[in-house]
Amino acid sequence: MKNICFYFKIHQPFRLKRYRFFDIGNDHYYYDDFANDEIISRLAEQSYFPMVRTLLAMIQEYGSDFKFALSITGTAIEQIQLYVPELIDELKKLSDTGCVEFLSETYSHSLSSLEDPEEFIREVKAHDDLIWQLFRKRPEVFTNTELIYDDDVALLLNSMGFHTAVTEGAKHILGWKSPNYLYKAASCPSLSLLLTNDKLSEDISRRFAKTDWDEYPLTADKYMGWIAAIPEDEQVINLYFSIDTFGSFLPAESGIFDFMRAIPRFAKEHEISLVTPSEAVKKLKPVGELAIPYPISGTDEARDVSAWKGNGLQREALEKLYSVAERVSLCSDKRLKQDWEYLQSSDHFYYMSTKNLDDGAAHSSFSPYDSPFSAFTNYMNVLADFIVRVQEQFPTEIENEELNSLLLTIRNQAAEIDQLNKEVNTLRTNAINSDENDFLPEVNVEKTDKSKMPSGTRKSNRQSRK
């Protein structure tokens, strides 16, 4: 029996406002609230609400015959809480049906998996904690920012206790292999890999509303027919979508919601089950190992990380950002930590891409900037201010390690003082018990002196009144 895993992704970055160099050091608020509000409110109305309600209706109709995976980034959740809080309730309803598996990912949709393993671990934990806090679910399957993956990421994930990761299954990465199997990572065979089926995903996300496509119009019947026609032993089809595909890229008028609603019915007819990734992994056995020495992703024609690290601007910005990672981790300032999270979103680097062929058009259509250069300039200005703030926390002359040990001493001091106090108390009680007059600790003497003083002055006051 064949299985389909649907993945829906929700992400929004905190877009930066126009930030000029003369704001550096003067203005510490970096975000374009108006644009962020406008974009997420519009998307919520066009896409998130209708899609979540469609999914709810599907679950009501088909019960546990329809399951899927959902991944929401921390920054998206924060924006939803800020601007469309009612969506959280809908998501909770989805979660309560038990037909949804929440996936783990980085908090800010960042590139930390490539840049800074420690930060990556922290971010993933922060994200999963937020999911737990909201939905009482602990994610077990990991999906990285834009499906970024390589053998090193596999090792990291394994060390963090994940049993499965979802990544890109584009043809020129897999070669002759099919994405429709379960694989295991070559670098650590205990990590299973689910690969997205690009062709079938894009039949919906890119071609569904294309009237010049020879398969137009696409119906759920036809689509499930295609999947049923895939060779019998290929058993898991992973269909990965950004949720705004439904209602935004493909407007409601295209009939996309009706198409989705009909999917479970035709899946049943063709004896295909709709499952969560964890269920799929339980059902299936990995057919082989997959070695990915260089990072891949689900973005751009090349399916590599050139969308974010392709030019000197992007590399410089990333390097500058992560150069303060350790410092930030030592800081305790909440706003600083928050900015640190928001500045890591991969979107900022995506806007700086200078690719100018087909991919470039996709880059610029998402970008709030008129050119990659102004995206870079604006980001670097913000980053310069951020770094100044990080440095203000602790003087730069001190090396990280030295600072770390100093901070450790400071933190330990509290514990030490507590302990010493305890000791003093026990000593004191002991002393009082053994001998009341002879052996009083000096502190106690001072205290009694001080407590006497006010009464003395009171007396004198009274005297003077007389």
């Binding site: 160099f21 003369f22 000197g312 601007l313 590399r315 200078t354 250069f373 870079f376 300039t377």
Partner: protein, 417 residues
């Protein structure tokens, strides 16, 4: 072709563009080009076009010998051409001030009696048009439109005019009515009009009321610089240098550069600003820089010529062109070729084709200052613009522009038949 300037003796961008285009058209092959200029100096490149000087073209018969002509103007053109031209004098111009060869004197510049010179140029064009057989007539800029119209009337061949600038660009709207009339007359008589950007195409259509179907944009290009220029020594200096290079006139928006400089200097004193060139606003700019208290960091070089321009570029870290209205603007292309990252105003024609530059509105001094700060402070941006800019310019060739012009010729000739 009728032109006014030709390298190496040029006063503005017109000469460079006419030269580049002619050379580019020649490179497409099967082209026989005669280029008329008011006054050649003898050191012009001649292997891709025959150059005729209006000041060497007789408009009245003089009985002179071969040897005499050879000794007088041999370095400008062959005596045979002189005699051919002399055979086609069409009227008696002896009432005019003529020299010993029966020719009218030309300054070849932009003198005060420019209107008279334009008229004389058109008289000479009549002789040349009768002498040289051609398929098409091409006039560069308003100074040569009357000559083009005259040649068209004489030969009956189609006229293409090339609008390198209009008076709206030069005057920020305060148009000189005489110049406007000459420009409009040329546009109306032309069979086709070539503009150097979509920006000036719109000006031609909207301000001169020309039928859009006969106006086509052919963007300018740039001539590859020689190795020696490209390898000019780059000074290793502590301070970054930001350069404005061009005429210091209203059209070029120099005051926005000074204001942006003042903004940058408030934050970062390690930058020097250079305003290279001369013009009627230079003194105002010196005063403005002093008033903003940045005179110690803001330098004026005066007019730069020839190689000095490239030496200045080689010593620069940023090139800036805040033009209020620029039909095209070749100089940023040259700066990019020299590997200098450029900031240009969106109101310049070259902004339509350039990608690896920073574009701002000319009035947005905040954006301009921010761009200057970013290029001088973020090395990655400098290198990105520099390296990709050099590559980009390699793809902008006069040969491609020339091909487009030839296509227009063919269309114009075909529509006549």
């Amino acid at each position: 072709m009728f032109g006014w300037e030709f390298p190496p003796h040029i006063l503005g961008g017109l000469g460079t563009a006419s030269y580049g285009l002619t050379k580019g058209m020649h490179a497409n092959g099967d082209m026989d080009i005669t280029f008329v200029i008011p006054r050649p100096w003898g050191d012009e490149e001649r292997d891709f076009a025959q150059i005729i000087g209006a000041c060497n073209t007789p408009v009245a018969w003089r009985d002179v010998s071969w040897d005499y002509v050879e000794s007088r103007i041999g370095k400008f053109m062959s005596p045979q051409t002189y005699f051919n031209l002399r055979d086609h004098i069409y009227d008696d111009f002896n009432y005019m001030k003529l020299n010993d060869l029966g020719c009218i004197e030309f300054s070849g510049r932009y003198p005060d009696n420019i209107l008279e010179e334009i008229n004389n140029y058109s008289i000479v064009a009549g002789v040349i048009a009768r002498t040289i057989d051609c398929d098409i007539i091409h006039s560069h800029d308003w100074l040569t439109y009357p000559a083009g119209i005259h040649a068209k009337n004489v030969t009956g061949k189609p006229l293409v005019i090339h609008v390198h600038a209009t008076d709206f660009d030069r005057s920020r709207g305060n148009v000189n009515p005489t110049v406007f009339a000459i420009e409009r007359d040329g546009m109306e008589h032309a069979d086709h009009i070539i503009t150097v950007s979509d920006l000036s195409r719109r000006t031609v259509i909207e301000k001169y009321g020309i039928d859009p179907s006969k106006v086509t944009t052919v963007h300018n290009a740039v001539i590859p610089l020689d190795e020696e220029t490209l390898n000019l020594p780059r000074h290793d200096k502590k301070d970054k240098v930001v350069t404005f290079l061009g005429r210091i006139t209203m059209q070029k928006g120099p005051e926005y550069f000074v204001e942006a400089a003042a903004k940058v200097l408030k934050k970062d004193r390690n930058i020097r600003f250079v305003m290279a060139g001369s013009g009627d606003m230079m003194e105002d700019m010196i005063r403005l820089a002093a008033r903003r208290g940045i005179a110690d960091r803001f330098h004026f070089t005066g007019f730069l010529k020839g190689k000095e321009v490239y030496e200045m570029l080689a010593a620069s870290d940023v090139y800036i062109m805040p033009s209020v209205s620029e039909p095209f603007g070749i100089s940023p292309l040259e700066a990019m070729e020299m590997g200098v990252p450029s900031i240009i105003s969106r109101q310049s024609g070259c902004a339509e084709i350039l990608n690896n530059v920073i574009k701002t509105d000319y009035w947005d001094i905040d954006a301009m200052a921010d761009a200057i700060h970013a290029i001088t402070n973020y090395p990655a941006l400098y290198h990105q613009l520099r390296n990709d800019g050099i590559e980009e310019i390699k793809g902008i060739t006069w040969e491609k522009a020339g091909k487009k012009v030839i296509d227009i010729y063919e269309k114009v000739i075909a529509s006549r038949q």
